[in-house]
Symmetry: C2
Subunit: 218 residues, 2 copies
């Protein structure tokens, strides 16, 4: 049996793995989960015992095959529940993450599959994040991070790679949502921030924001 805390660690390690080729460090996990490095070391040992991660002391961890499957299953549940909340219960995209953090731990394979069917096998959650299918495959994506776009190029927002409330509410205030057209006007070398237009209105955003906006170019 896998505990709730263990599930959260696996999910965090998967998320961090998406942004790096290397093993995931203790501190990175501690930051992600807002806990202490010593707690992470403790938990990593438990996950190692259960063969959910491969661990080399002082060198970091990687998800094992079964750990990866488990992590993908949790992400699948999280995102399907977010779709449910938005499409069926009329929640806004900035209101669902916290609740999905709880719902993702409900254990019932039949429930996940029934929910998927009920929702019509969605490929993306309300934030444009890809939903793995029953076999753990993620849909192909053709998006780039806004921070990677050249000066002068443009495209539409198809996703955000973070879904915490304060980030989404900031996007709301900028009038950025899925489908919004964005053009890069200027890239500022000093801090990697960007001058952009949002549906032809100009604005200035930090690299931190640009990195979390997924753009599909025309």
């Amino acid at each position: 049996m896998i505990t709730l805390a263990e599930e959260n660690y696996l999910k965090a390690i998967l998320k961090l793995s998406k942004n790096s080729e290397n093993s995931i460090s203790t501190n990175a996990i501690a930051d992600e989960l807002e806990t202490k490095a010593s707690s992470v070391t403790d938990m990593i040992k438990k996950l190692t015992d259960k063969q959910l991660v491969d661990y080399v002391p002082y060198r970091g961890v990687n998800l094992s095959k079964s750990g990866l499957n488990k992590a993908i299953e949790i992400v699948r549940k999280h995102r399907l529940w977010e779709v449910f909340l938005v499409t069926k219960l009329q929640f806004k995209w900035d209101e669902v993450h916290y609740i999905a953090e709880q719902l993702e731990h409900i254990k019932s394979q039949k429930l996940v599959d029934a929910l998927d069917t009920y929702l019509g096998y969605p490929q993306h959650d309300p934030h444009g994040e890809p939903i793995p299918n029953k076999d753990g495959q993620f849909p192909k994506s053709f998006s780039k991070r806004l921070s990677e776009l050249e000066k002068g190029s443009s495209g539409q927002v198809v996703g955000v790679s973070q879904d915490n409330q304060s980030f989404l509410q900031y996007l709301n205030s900028l009038k950025i949502t899925l489908g919004t057209s964005i053009r890069v006007i200027q890239k500022i070398d000093f801090d990697n921030s960007l001058e952009i237009t949002i549906n032809n209105e100009s604005a200035h955003i930090s690299n931190d924001v640009a990195r979390n906006l997924l753009i599909k170019q025309k």
Copy 2:
């Protein structure tokens, strides 16, 4: 903050309170939750500290006002989720209890209310059990336990006061479901079992079963 274990204790005490005027004993709670009496004593102390129950050592507990509210809220969530699973996701009535045991602990007032609206404010769950409204009021019930019916009288099954899988599957095998017509043919004094007809087919059921069948007489 109220923990998951505390919520389960409150729900158990509410359930036991429905079948007795008196304070609820430590052993009764231990039986209901399949745990040990010493664990119950420990937990009761915590609930007492939080003023969720009134407790007299060796004499049992009762829910306090706030404990009762909390317990009703959990029952409300449990039953609404059961309705969701059956009416929206096509689950059978004997498949939902275990999953609802998990879902009842999801914390979000907005979610409960949105779910209630989405389901059309149902008054009863898939087992005929009453669903308290937003204010904690249970709908009025006009049913009796089958075990309380006189010899010769009859009625329709409108609910079951237990929803564990083995009980429901036994009912399935007897061809008893919500709406089934039952008549009491004979009451056996020796063990309080009953000779009945189920849609005019005769059968013999124990008092244990009869006590958990809710009948509405014509």
